[in-house]
């Protein structure tokens, strides 16, 4: 077993064997879901805090279910009910939670680097549940897990990410994980939504979706945020749909056994047609199931790695 970290902040700095360990550990957890009692006592007595500074139903629920299936005590804190509104700094809020003996803090924040800030200031284990445009490591892991499950190996797979790469932490975590495992990653979207330096991460850039889609094994569609249109990043939703919507016609150019993934929540009829979202190639609901298994693996590994509690307080 190769995993001895206090925190999971991103996939950039994990090596391949660490990622492999998480993926391998997730499988037994997934098998657990078919039991009558989908629960194990591994994290009995541990307190897990979901600290969410950005609205999220999916990820928060997924972490909550994952924690509960490991028998941890879970506390959910969302912006509206927390002392954030009272002007308390993030570090102080988190220190308060630590004083209440939180063992693991899962943070979702609109600003990049916030999980790192907590990790520097706290002894508790920090899990990044998405920070700004930086990373969303558990999403990257669950996407990798899903591809691994369906395609048996990642090396050589042609994986296409479509949409707003610039503002996508999901894209970033996918790219880090996939390139470490030898997949050939393509990104497609308008130049305004693709960072100029993205090719330096070893991915191929396409502005034309019809070209990008040729012979791909996996298509991961990203959610398009309506507010990007107001920032003049594209002229209209109408034009975006015209150029980048995943339709059945476009899909025909991919490999016949292509996998269609979406991190959710989907804008049906915008980045993807309902027909495609509900077709047999789509594994969008399985991603949700796998998300719980992967998050259980992450929680288990971090909790197990904590036993010594000899981490250096970097404050």
């Amino acid at each position: 077993m190769s995993f001895n970290r206090k925190d999971l902040l991103g996939l950039e700095h994990l090596d391949k064997t660490e990622i492999q360990t998480i993926i391998d550990s997730a499988r037994p957890f997934k098998n657990m879901f078919t039991r009558s009692i989908k629960k194990a006592p591994a994290l009995v007595g541990k307190t897990v805090v979901n600290l969410f500074y950005e609205p999220s139903t999916r990820t928060r629920t997924s972490f909550e279910v994952a924690s509960k299936r490991l028998s941890a005590d879970v506390v959910n804190i969302a912006t509206a009910t927390s002392s954030v509104v009272k002007g308390e700094s993030l570090v102080d809020t988190a220190k308060t939670l630590e004083a209440m003996k939180a063992d693991i803090i899962i943070i979702r924040h609109t600003l990049a680097g916030t999980p790192e800030l907590l990790a520097k200031n706290l002894n508790a284990s920090i899990i990044n549940a998405g920070d700004g445009f930086h990373e969303h490591p558990t999403q990257g892991l669950l996407d990798l897990y899903t591809m691994y499950e369906k395609k048996k190996k990642i090396e050589g797979l042609k994986v296409l990410l479509v949409g707003d790469i610039l503002h996508s932490r999901v894209a970033k975590s996918n790219i880090w994980a996939l390139t470490k495992f030898g997949a050939k990653v393509r990104v497609a979207g308008p130049p305004t939504l693709i960072p100029g330096k993205i090719s330096e991460l070893g991915v191929e850039v396409f502005y034309n979706l019809d070209e990008a889609i040729k012979d791909v094994d996996v298509i991961n569609i990203l959610r398009i945020q309506m507010e990007r249109q107001q920032e003049n990043l594209f002229p209209s939703i109408h034009e975006y749909v015209e150029l980048y919507q995943l339709t059945k016609e476009r899909l025909a150019k991919a490999k016949p056994d292509v996998l269609i993934m979406h991190p959710g929540p989907m804008n049906r009829g915008i980045e993807i047609t309902s027909e495609v979202a509900d077709c047999s190639s789509a594994v969008i609901n399985e991603q949700v199931t796998n998300g719980i298994a992967v998050r259980m693996a992450v929680l288990y590994l971090l909790a197990a790695a904590r036993k010594g509690e000899n981490y250096v307080h970097s404050n």
């Binding site: 570090v91 680097g113 916030t114 790192e116 700004g132 445009f133 932490r169 991460l201």
Partner: protein, 428 residues
């Protein structure tokens, strides 16, 4: 009170001096020789003396943000860095756009300061970029330049008027060059690193567009333009071309722009967050080239103290800026002189005679007889580590903590008075 500094290596770019000799100080002035035996004799063996260093860009924060820095703590920090004169930017609270504010700073400096404090006045009222401040009255009160530093003057017409109007006072307009729309919400250099960190980037062009505009306005008006904190290769080239044309343009850079790149912004460490942001190696190389060929006239600190609480935050919400007084000389020596970018004399010129000329400080920046007796004595071989606990500034936001240096000030003399020595610290 008289001082004789004996057998010291004198480096004075204002007179092209570079020789062992004696420096005589009497009644706050440099003199040819003393009228009577010196009250104090300083052995200058193995030491080097320069005209006192002038830092044309700093934020001393008083009045209004005394939790970050005060004139008392800021000038002590400067003295430790071998700096004898600091220009303080007008973005205090309230901003320095009126005579009483200027007078307050001068009065505080008189009472509590250890080095000369020269206020810079606002270009526009409230630094709002809308109406010109009462620059004539500010000048009478004692400002040495005008600037809306921190805020660019976005309106070209107002910048034009400022460059025109200041001509009658021979005041330089110091321009913070930034296209705010292009830089919008940016917190670090736009590039591969900003992409990886998921932080909004500030492209080089956000600086260069404004440098370019201001140079054109300088050409239009014949005013005196000084570009603050140049950080990009493009800006250096624009200034180089402007100077070739004979325009009245000067500029400064800061030690971090010739020392660090955006590769240093690791782990969201906010001590590497400043505006303009750290750029790439290509820019660092161009800055060095600009220093070498004389395109860049001055090295200034942009000393910008912030409290630990403000800096221990999300990268996006932490304020821009780092402290710089105490590392100015060492960084210049180690990064420019030791690496043969500049000779010692050329490097010192950028912190003495050049700023004195640009900002018309007639009696400073030189060790000629008759000059104010501001002298920096350095030991070029003193090796030390820059430690947090040794910092005299009220704030400790430096990316250079833990860095090892060779060469630093060992004694600072301001107006004929020894204000700081390495051995005894601040002298009261």
């Amino acid at each position: 009170m008289s001082i004789q500094i004996k057998n010291i290596n004198i480096v004075d770019p204002s007179t092209n001096t570079n020789k062992i000799g004696d420096i005589f100080i009497e009644d706050g002035k440099i003199v040819e020789k003393l009228s009577k035996p010196a009250d104090e004799i300083i052995d200058g063996k193995d030491k080097t003396a320069f005209p006192g260093l002038i830092d044309v860009h700093s934020h001393v924060r008083e009045p209004g943000q005394e939790e970050k820095e005060t004139i008392k703590t800021g000038t002590r920090s400067a003295a430790k860095g071998g700096i004898t004169t600091v220009f303080c930017m007008p973005n205090t609270k309230p901003v320095t756009d009126n005579a009483p504010s200027v007078e307050y700073i001068l009065m505080k400096a008189q009472k509590e300061g250890k080095v000369n404090v020269f206020p810079i006045g606002c270009i526009t009222k409230g630094s709002q970029g809308k109406e010109l401040a009462e620059i004539g009255i500010l000048k009478k009160a004692g400002i040495v330049a005008v600037s809306d530093d921190g805020q660019p003057v976005a309106n070209s017409q107002i910048m034009r008027r400022a460059l025109e109007y200041t001509k009658m006072f021979n005041l330089a307009v110091i321009s913070h060059c930034e296209d705010k729309e292009l830089a919008r919400n940016g917190v670090m250099n736009a590039g591969k690193n900003s992409m990886i960190f998921g932080l909004r980037g500030i492209p080089n062009q956000s600086e260069e567009i404004m440098v370019s505009r201001d140079i054109m306005l300088c050409e239009l008006t014949g005013g005196k333009l000084h570009i603050a904190h140049v950080s990009t290769a493009g800006s250096v080239e624009l200034v180089r071309q402007a100077k070739k044309k004979g325009l009245n343009v000067t500029c400064e850079t800061c030690p971090h722009y010739f020392t660090l790149t955006d590769d240093y912004v690791q782990n969201y460490d906010t001590n590497f967050k400043m505006n303009p942001p750290l750029r790439t190696q290509k820019d660092v190389d161009a800055i060095k080239e600009g220093l070498k060929d004389g395109t860049i006239d001055c090295i200034a600190t942009d000393h910008a103290p912030h409290t630990l609480e403000e800096k221990n935050r999300e990268f996006d919400t932490a304020p821009f800026g780092i402290i710089g007084f105490e590392t100015l000389l060492s960084l210049t020596l180690n990064e420019l002189v030791d690496k043969n970018i500049l000779t010692l004399s050329e490097a010192i010129a950028k912190m003495t005679v050049n700023p004195a000329k640009i900002f018309s400080l007639d009696t400073r920046g030189s060790l000629k007889a008759g000059s104010a007796a501001d002298v920096t004595i350095a030991d070029l071989n003193h090796e030390y580590e820059f430690k947090k606990e040794d910092i005299l500034s009220k704030s400790k936001n430096s990316p250079f903590i833990g860095r090892k240096f060779k060469g630093c000030a060992v004694m600072t003399i301001v107006g004929g008075k020894i204000v700081w020595t390495l051995k005894d610290g601040i002298i009261n």
